[in-house]
């Protein structure tokens, strides 16, 4: 059932490839806009790079949160899922993972290319990619709570950003901090283990919270 | 007594802008909140009394007819 959900969501995403590409291009455009805004000095860009890439990743993964449940809500699949004997938390976990595979993974793959735009050294690129790999699933998991709470509300898209962005702050701090620490020669180990801890904690807590929120929204 | 005159009090040892700026905004916020809440209550009560009167009217019409 869990795998079935992922498979199904991936299939749906492949049918509507434009949505996936929109998120990815949004990420690329935001990152590319910054040098045009602050000027082309490489030294400054190199310092800014981790923060810019991470903030763009937060915004991009948030952009598609609204679609996580709304499609299933509209065609009635979600109600079937709620009354199915399967644990709802597991279903939510499946949907969050599918969301990550569709939006998070392309960002992770794209990040090194964008890092080159900012003249990041090779090891920093590696750390940036690794930190995104650990951090973006957390974004999808926390985002699932926000998406579940704002399901079917008018102005849900803006609202979800208001709810979810403050909760993303620790991820942003440690994700961007990992890259900065490695360029400063401190080693990114501590940041990476904290990101890993966040990932584990949100894997356990977020699906359950989002499942409770879904039940509230569907009552 | 710390203050020798009113202007001395208002000056706050050169920090008048900061001290009174804080206290003024504090006052404005609290006054604003009180006004907002009492307005909300007043409109609500007015609304409720309208409903009440109309239902009373209906009842009277029902009994008289």
């Amino acid at each position: 059932m869990f795998l079935w959900i992922i498979q199904r969501d991936l299939l749906l995403a492949m049918r509507r490839r434009a949505d996936v590409l929109t998120t990815l291009f949004f990420f690329i455009i935001v990152v590319s806009l910054f040098p045009l805004g602050v000027g082309p000095e490489m030294n400054m860009l190199r310092i800014m790079a981790p923060g810019v890439v991470w903030v763009a990743a937060l915004l991009a993964s948030m952009l598609s949160l609204g679609r996580m449940f709304s499609g299933d809500h509209l065609d009635g699949t979600l109600e079937q899922m709620l009354i199915s004997p399967q644990s709802l938390s597991l279903l939510v976990l499946g949907k969050a993972l599918a969301h990550w595979l569709v939006t998070g993974v392309p960002l992770v793959l794209m990040a090194p290319v964008l890092g080159i735009q900012y003249d990041l050294p090779a090891d920093a690129l590696l750390v940036l990619t690794a930190s995104l790999l650990l951090g973006t699933p957390v974004l999808s998991l926390i985002g699932a709570i926000g998406a579940a709470l704002t399901l079917g509300l008018r102005g849900g898209g803006v609202l979800v950003s208001l709810l979810v962005l403050p909760l993303y702050i620790p991820i942003l701090i440690f994700g961007a901090g990992a890259v900065e620490a490695s360029t400063a020669g401190l080693g990114a180990g501590a940041h990476m283990s904290l990101l890993g801890a966040f990932l584990l904690a949100s894997l356990v807590l977020a699906p359950w919270t989002a499942a409770v929120s879904l039940r509230i929204s569907m009552e | 007594m710390i203050w020798t005159s009113l202007s001395d009090f208002l000056d706050m040892g050169g920090y008048g802008f900061y001290v009174w700026g804080s206290y003024l905004v504090f006052l404005i916020c609290i006054a604003g909140e009180i006004i907002l809440v009492s307005n909300r209550k007043r409109t609500l009560l007015k609304h409720l009394s309208l409903i009440h009167q109309s239902t009373k009217q209906e009842k009277r019409n029902e009994t008289s007819s």
Partner: protein, 245 residues
Amino acid sequence: MAINWFKYSSPASFYFLAGKMIPFFSIAAVILCLAGLYIGFFVAPTDFQQGEAYRIIFIHVPAAWMSMFLYVVMAMWSGIGLAFNTRLSSMVATAIAPTGAMFTFLALWTGALWGKPMWGTWWVWDARLTSELILLFLYIGFMSLQAAIDDPRRADKAGAMIALVGVVNVPIIYFSVKWWNTLHQGASVSLTQSPKMATTMLTGMLIMSLACWMYAIAMVLIRTRAVILERERHTAWVGELQGAA
């Protein structure tokens, strides 16, 4: 003492109880506020380090305390409302949010006006300041979520979820920002070493905190009454209320 506390968990009886309690808390707030301001401006001596600017402390610290305390109380009532399905506790949580947000804003505002003469800057990215700002975002998120939902029961529960998620996250956010800040020792303004306070200053500050507390309670009670009236407008007891008035 066999008081039936559950009696007061019904909105109707709470409405009348709150009506009796509001004058008491309002008067207490006014008296405490006057006493606190008198101590703050006329009894407390000039600080030898900060001059007169420290007098902002009498509203800044109470506002900051109330902002955090009210969020925790709000989350607690939300949690109770969610767990025991009591309408009244959710209504109280809804009523707390605007007052909490106002105190958060005031803590930021007075902090900026205090920071400018003391550290030469309106704002530093210190852990405390940043967390306070994020607290304001959390309050605003809670209120906007509740405002966007038309069905009051769903609004209560959804708000409760976001309040509880927020209360779990506030410590995490605080420590992340703290760690982040120690890593970026750029603008090094040490806020931790507070000046030694005279006892009169401390007394004034505590009295002002109590005043803010009383004010917040009075405000929350008034707003809860308004929320009760809104939600229960079709019930018999509200109709009777109008008939009597």
